[in-house]
């Protein structure tokens, strides 16, 4: 019987190996696109990237009146024009998610440095047991470092943190009740539930002495988001970051933890020093803990003022342009440690912008947005299609005259291009117009620079800005293709340089 059983087990193993091959070859990719779409975020990072910034919505959220709406990662890139900086941004994610995404950076990638967003709020029970976890964890199962069929097995048998919303609420409320404060002096609350209840009952008073509901709500959110004492032994987020450190060690990456700014000004105003002291203490614990492990920790906690927080009735780390630039600058200064030779001071003035990027996916509005298509993409899902009747690609438009002359000597244009053949006459066009000077138009041949066909290839050109257009009311940059060949353009980057 033992022989018979052994034979069947061997047969079963062979069957599973064959099934794994079948799944990997014909089913895995479509399953990834259906159930683990976030793998595309990692795939969008080219193998020759130098710096990868990984974060959540704090990286990409901007305020409507920002002149420069680019993410923090792009601002960091401005300090290192000679390096290739890319980002992996997944809203609502945290270190547990980053770890799995980073594991998927191919071993052949030349990435040297990883900047990981460290969000203090993500150490709080409400985030740890957030109702977003089920879908986040589910989206990671297929990209775990196991054979594809085994990953699919884990997904089918729901081997991920799967809980209902009410179960999650129960979990974080239990944690809040369980974690008692050990504070010096006579701190009047036993745990965050008592603190929150007290705030809710007493409330914030407006100038007339009336209960101010929105401000009280915000105060309660601050208490629930930051009213905890960090335990480096028990907090699961600590081990997530430790796993990232371990991974960085294995992959020989430089590691920076970008500890995000919080609205400590507002928190202090509404709740008082007890909370801000607690926030600072927790950050100190994190800084000491990870510095000891050899990670460069950039402490931004108190670096952004209240006016730069986009959400004035919530505790999110969403900054307006100046806030994002501040965080970026602090990270860039830390990166000088490895890239001192590449570092270049950025002239930051919120009245103008010198660097522009459109990946065709994130809703940044340029001209000719109707040319966006999901036919193919270099990153994300969309690119801009020109040709076959669509003469113009997405079109960059900007009042060039707002940039000081000393900072606009050169325009560097870079984009990714997919062309089916070289039977076209597509051109990169720079066009300028304005009152009091002759319209300017110049086209630069594309196929003379990029000859690769049927693959995504990078087009890069630096053009001296003629004096005649420096005071242009409007400069337009686009690809003009009047042929029948369809050409796709993606990840359009423009840098106005001194």
């Amino acid at each position: 019987m033992l022989k018979k059983l052994s034979l069947k087990i061997v047969l079963l193993l062979v069957l599973l190996i064959v099934l794994n091959f079948v799944y990997k070859t014909w089913f895995y990719e479509s399953d990834l696109q259906k159930n683990a779409e976030l793998i595309n975020l990692v795939r969008a990072v080219p193998n020759d990237a130098d710096i990868v910034y990984i974060g959540e919505s704090s990286n990409i959220t901007f305020r409507g009146d920002d002149i420069d709406k680019r993410p923090i990662s792009a601002f960091i890139g401005d300090y290192f024009p000679g390096l290739k900086t890319y980002d992996i941004t997944k809203p609502a994610s945290h270190a547990g998610i980053y770890k799995v995404l980073l594991e998927n950076i191919p071993v052949e990638s030349k990435v040297k440095t990883i900047v990981v967003t460290l969000n203090l709020r993500s150490f709080d029970a409400q985030w740890i047991y957030s109702n977003l976890e089920t879908s986040l964890q589910k989206s990671l199962v297929l990209i775990k470092p196991y054979p594809p069929l085994f990953n699919r097995f884990l997904l089918s048998f729901k081997v991920f943190d799967i809980k209902s919303d009410s179960e999650r609420v129960k979990e974080y409320r239990a944690k809040w009740a369980e974690d008692e404060f050990h504070m010096p002096g006579n701190f009047q609350f036993r745990n965050v539930i008592e603190w929150d209840r007290w705030m809710s009952n007493n409330g914030i008073k407006d100038s007339n002495g009336n209960y101010d509901l929105p401000q009280t709500d915000l105060a309660c959110h601050f208490i629930k988001s930051f009213g905890f004492q960090l335990d480096t032994l028990k907090n699961p987020r600590i081990s997530d970051f430790n796993a990232i450190i371990e991974l960085a060690r294995k992959r020989n990456w430089n590691l920076v933890f970008n500890l995000l700014a919080e609205n400590t000004g507002k928190a202090g105003e509404l709740v008082g020093n007890d909370l801000t002291d607690l926030m600072n203490e927790n950050v100190q614990i994190l800084e000491n803990y990870y510095s000891r492990k050899g990670v460069v920790v950039v402490n931004n906690l108190n670096q952004v003022g209240n006016d730069q927080f986009v959400d004035q009735n919530w505790t999110t780390e969403h900054y307006a342009e100046l806030g994002r630039r501040t965080v970026a600058k602090n990270v860039a200064l830390a990166l000088k440690h490895w890239y001192g030779d590449f570092y270049k001071e950025v002239h930051c003035d919120s009245r103008y912008q010198t660097s522009f990027f459109n990946d065709c996916d994130k809703g940044i509005i340029w001209g000719q947005m109707q040319t966006l298509t999901t036919d193919m993409a270099h990153s994300g899902e969309k690119s801009s299609m020109t040709g076959a009747g669509n003469d113009y690609s997405i079109t960059f438009e900007y009042p060039l005259k707002v940039i000081p002359d000393s900072l606009k000597k050169t325009i560097n244009v870079e984009f990714w291009l997919h062309q089916p053949s070289l039977n076209h006459d597509a051109k990169l066009v720079i066009q300028a117009s304005g009152q009091g000077f002759h319209d300017y138009w110049n086209g630069y041949d594309i196929k003379s620079i990029v000859k690769d066909i049927n693959v995504w290839a990078r087009y890069n050109i630096s053009i001296s800005v003629p004096d005649s257009i420096k005071q242009a009311d409007l400069i337009k940059i686009y690809v003009l293709n009047q042929s029948k060949e369809k050409i796709y353009i993606d990840d359009f980057k423009i840098l106005v340089r001194d």
Binding site: K138, R152, S156, F157, K158
Partner: protein, 471 residues
């Protein structure tokens, strides 16, 4: 712990390995501990309900056996009945009864508000209370000797493969098997695994994929044309069948590996020629329970015709209410009863039902007729309220030709769906493990490959628990 979870995939081999490794005299302890653990994975405190039910019936059995005269036994039986049915009523029907009484009071102008309770229905309570009740009733009638070993009795009540959704086993069938010394058997292992794999396939690939489509229809039926709604009803018939029969197969297969044979719970019910036969093939352990412990005590068919009609209706209505505390279940049961009676009358009158060769035109025609009736009756089972069910029927009529939303049914789902229907034809009056055992090795391994691959790659990945867990 759900069967279709990694916890169970780990739990089952551990329990089975230990079962064969430890001496026979300790096995009941292992199985009892495993069963309690299995139940406590869902909600720890509700294990006390099982323990309570176990102790009540254990002692009732022992005390009843001490008396020979029924008049002395009866009060003890009543203790068992009141305790078990009281527990069931309290957890399952209290809120339903309160809501309806409040409505009634409101209508007749009485100022009385019966409070509602806010607790979770204990998983499997309808199953294990019926299982223990059958024991007490059998002891009362002298059909069963009282069990002296509390451990074995507790194991009979809580044996994990069938604890939360059956099959509802009889003491005389299950306990001797639990007491019997089972040696490891290759045949039991293989047949048990075959049943488990097929159970996973029909639960995870068929039921869980159909579930999303059915939910879509029932969430907003007014968006869809009659044809799409009909597809939804068709899919629900197969969803509930594959969901429950899949569960039963995994339960039967798990016990089978340990050498314990649980009763079959399904036998291709949609190939039944009439409602009577349908209930001989659907949830067999429950139908036979009602037959033995309700229908026969009421007099069965050895009574006057009007009484027989009454008996039939009572059994079907009670069976409906057993499923859930909602008027829809009561109507669902009653409809089965009424159609059963109509079919019986027509059959006597027209003599349309006789022995048909399987798969003959007559058989298939009658099976299709039965399936259509059952499919429409399921509307009451699936709907949350009577109004929702009636709305479905109205829309079926009103939305003829309506160009509404279209259900998105992936091609692979049609393939699996049709494969499942084909398998029902193939397995008519046969069991999957036996049928597969007779297939040549190459075919058998092809089936294994197909099932394993389908379970892993095509399982529905939303979190759909077994439908019958709610009963």
């Amino acid at each position: 712990m759900l069967f279709n979870s990694i916890e169970f995939i780990i739990f089952l081999p551990i329990v089975i390995s230990l079962f064969f490794l430890i001496p026979h005299r300790f096995r009941w302890i292992l199985l009892l501990a495993a069963s309690y653990y299995f139940y406590m994975c869902w909600k720890v405190e509700y294990i006390f309900l099982i323990v309570f039910s176990t102790l009540i019936d254990y002692f009732c059995g022992i005390f009843m056996e001490k008396f020979h005269e029924k008049r002395f036994k009866l009060p003890i039986l009543l203790v068992s009945l009141i305790s078990n049915l009281g527990l069931l009523f309290f957890f399952k029907y209290y809120n339903f009864a309160s809501e309806n009484l409040n409505l009634l009071f409101d209508k007749i102008g009485i100022q009385q508000d019966i409070p509602l309770m806010n607790f979770l229905l204990p998983v499997g309570i309808s199953f294990y209370t019926f299982q223990t009740l059958s024991y007490s009733i059998d002891v009362y009638f002298g059909r069963q000797k009282a069990e002296k070993h509390l451990g074995y009795f507790a194991l009979y009540v809580s044996f994990f493969p069938q604890l939360v959704a059956g099959p509802i086993e009889r003491f005389s069938r299950l306990t001797p098997q639990l007491k019997e010394k089972h040696l490891f058997s290759y045949d039991n292992l293989v047949n048990g695994l075959r049943l488990i794999i097929f159970g996973f396939f029909i639960k995870m690939v068929i039921a869980d994929n159909l579930s999303g489509i059915v939910d879509e229809i029932y969430a907003a039926p007014e968006k869809f044309s009659s044809l799409e709604i009909l597809k939804g009803l068709l899919f629900y018939s197969f969803q509930i069948y594959s969901d429950f029969s899949g569960y039963s197969l995994i339960a039967i297969g798990s016990a089978r590996i340990m050498g314990i044979r649980l009763m079959d719970n399904f036998n291709t019910p949609y190939l039944a020629k009439n409602i009577s036969e349908f209930w001989q093939r659907w949830h067999i352990s429950l139908s036979t329970w009602f037959r033995d412990y309700l229908y026969f005590p009421l007099g069965g068919n050895r009574v006057a015709k009007t009484r027989w009609v009454f008996n039939i209706l009572v059994v079907f209505v009670v069976s409906g209410v057993w499923h859930g505390a909602n008027w829809t279940f009561l109507i669902w049961g009653a409809l089965f009863g009424v159609i059963y009676l109509i079919e019986s009358a027509l059959n006597k009158l027209l003599k349309i039902e006789r022995e048909y060769t399987p798969y003959s035109f007559g058989h298939i025609s009658l099976a299709v007729k039965t399936f259509i009736i059952v499919t429409f009756i399921w509307v009451f089972f699936r709907s949350q309220s009577f109004a929702e069910a009636i709305n479905i029927f109205k829309l079926l009529y009103n939305n003829i030709g309506f160009a509404g939303a279209k259900l998105i049914i992936p091609g692979y789902l049609w393939v699996f769906f049709l494969t499942f229907i084909a398998s029902d034809f193939l397995l008519y009056n046969k069991r999957f493990d036996v049928w597969l055992g007779n297939v040549p090795a190459i075919g058998r391994w092809t089936v294994y490959g197909f099932l394993i691959f389908s379970i892993i790659v095509y399982a529905g990945i939303e979190n759909f628990p077994f439908i019958y867990f709610q009963f």
